[in-house]
Symmetry: C2
Subunit: 356 residues, 2 copies
């Protein structure tokens, strides 16, 4: 196999999920405007009445068309946000199992890659992480995902079962995920308190450019401070958007821990040790950022991603600027040799997700 281009940050609203969102009268929902355009509204305070959506968001042929346009050989697809925390526990459990089955079928029936044994599309499952869910239900879904031949990870948000990822109630979940060899794709959804953005109309810029990375950074930092990695050292977490802002804050975090005896006594290692346990997508849009992440964590922990179907171009036939920028960034990082670039473009993903 030559050096495939593998996209590990690529989303879908599976048709069943899109239907659920269409059926809802409150956010999150897909609504149809008077002019017939469908809009996805995922947060209460969303600017501009939500984003226009169409087949790119749910149809597999559109995913494959996008992959072909950009030379992407293999995609590891995950459900887009929001996840399931707007359901009650019983509903969330039921739909999680259905969506995991749907995702396995979405992948299993995808075309073969280069006439070989691999598929063009693999996937990630989803857990019913909602308040009141039983540990048994979560473990059952982890086993379901682990048993699905084409699912190699699971995506989750930052709220756990309501109290964040430093919640003791998640301890058996981390252990089961690590034992199953699944990758956790940690992805933001809620951002931060929007009062921070002020009164000026800046569209989606502040919540997307700043709020998303702040949310991811806070969630993974809380998990680290809770000592999860000391107890579950094999846990493999992939951070969206190149780790948010954790790499740039890691030495500051280490210093703040050093000066706080309660936290320092709780952890077995310097904060930067835990950074080296994490995985990072290469969705940062610039070579300096990628080079920096590789300097603190190692390029072998980094993987190309697109964030498709978000950030679409204005015309429907051109290459997506967001994708072109992320590929150019990988190609122009100072100090990466060809093997490192090939790794970030796809080789690392096949190894880390166990797609071999």
């Amino acid at each position: 196999m030559s050096n495939p281009l593998v996209d590990i940050h690529t989303h879908v609203y599976l048709p069943r999920y899109a239907e659920v969102l269409r059926s809802r009268a409150t956010v999150p929902r897909i609504l149809t405007r008077e002019d017939g355009e469908e809009r996805l509204v995922i947060l209460d305070n969303e600017p501009s009445g939500g984003r226009p959506v169409g087949p790119q968001y749910w149809a597999r042929e559109e995913k494959l068309r996008f992959m072909d346009l950009h030379g992407i050989d293999i995609s590891v697809v995950s459900t887009a946000n929001p996840w399931l925390d707007f359901f009650d526990a019983a509903e969330a459990h039921t739909i999680a199992k259905q969506l995991n089955d749907d995702m396995e079928e979405y992948c299993a029936s995808s075309p073969a890659y280069a006439n070989g044994p691999l598929k063009r599309i693999y996937g990630m499952g989803i857990l019913p992480l909602v308040p009141g869910i039983s540990t048994e239900a979560l473990l059952e879904c982890i086993q379901q995902i682990a048993a699905a031949p084409h699912l190699h990870g699971l995506i989750m948000g930052t709220r756990g079962v309501g109290k964040g990822l430093d919640d003791d109630a998640l301890e058996p979940v981390w252990k089961a995920i690590a034992d199953a060899g699944l990758v956790v794709f940690l992805h933001p959804h809620y951002g931060v308190d929007s009062s921070a953005w002020g009164e000026k109309d800046n569209g989606h810029v502040l919540p997307l450019a700043l709020g998303f990375p702040f949310e991811t950074t806070t969630a993974i930092t809380r998990l680290i401070l809770a000592g999860v990695y000391d107890r579950v050292p094999d846990l493999r977490i992939l951070l969206a958007h190149s780790g948010g802002t954790l790499p740039q804050l890691s030495s500051r975090l280490a210093s703040c821990i050093d000066h706080d005896p309660v936290v320092a006594a709780r952890l077995q290692h310097d904060a930067r040790f835990y950074l080296g346990k994490l995985f990072f997508d290469a969705v940062a849009y610039g070579p300096e950022e990628l080079g920096f992440v590789s300097e603190v964590a190692g390029s072998e922990r980094m993987m190309f991603g697109t964030d498709h179907p978000f950030f679409p171009p204005l015309s429907s036939t051109e290459k997506w600027k967001s994708v072109v920028e992320n590929l150019e960034a990988i190609d122009t990082v100072t100090g990466w040799d060809k093997a490192e670039k090939d790794g970030v473009r796809g080789g690392n993903a096949l190894k880390i997700f166990g797609i071999l």
Copy 2:
């Protein structure tokens, strides 16, 4: 003059200000515990009942002792947070003028550096940035600071006169500061909504390690998005803590702006252009972070700092770990030659602040 070590991130509660904080019955305040220990409480939800404070926080001989212990030749001192927004407009105006006079005297009466024309201590002034303040009062204080021989900048928080730094009301303030050639030291105080930190006791770690940089990043991003640099290109803003997280998010910010026509049409340049207009302290505690900031902004825009008197060591006679780490970080950045290191250690500060 050889290569002096210059600390541009070093704070004081001037004696008049400490007295004001002692006189207050509500936060922010300095309170005396039953055992006689003074505690500084600057935020309502502060962990552990505030931080212990003593002469390090206000006495100039302690500042000089700290400088001598670490080989710091010259300090550019600024008032520590909180600033003046707990006063009404008239009170804030009065005390700002008094504190600016006090700071000038604090610097003017400091020892000479190496028996030459320079002092050991220079300073920054403060503006009465509170809701309801008149533009005239702000401009008067800018002129006061500009006229003070030993003040070369001013420190401010992120709230402006109540609506943040993208408030149109601040436009004449930015112009006057730029015309006066003063450096604005933008420093966090409030952090972000503390509900993001969850229920676990992590002491000050999350608000200091994450909340502070998030606040700075949000404030400067909003100022950039408002187009301030397009209208006041000579404005010189120094960002605390190596720019918070803006450097790691700058290409993502550029991409998000590209995909948001309203904001894109407002700005004359790519977001990364504005990054090159900013200045950064070298208070990041690690060489990778410093090297990264210099890659995106240039080492000639970076300056050593300590954050004294915060982050004290457990024993009173040892060198401060936070200072030693920041000096080691400068010394071990990959790719910096001796001239660049000397620049960051002090040469840049003398030029940027105009201390010559």
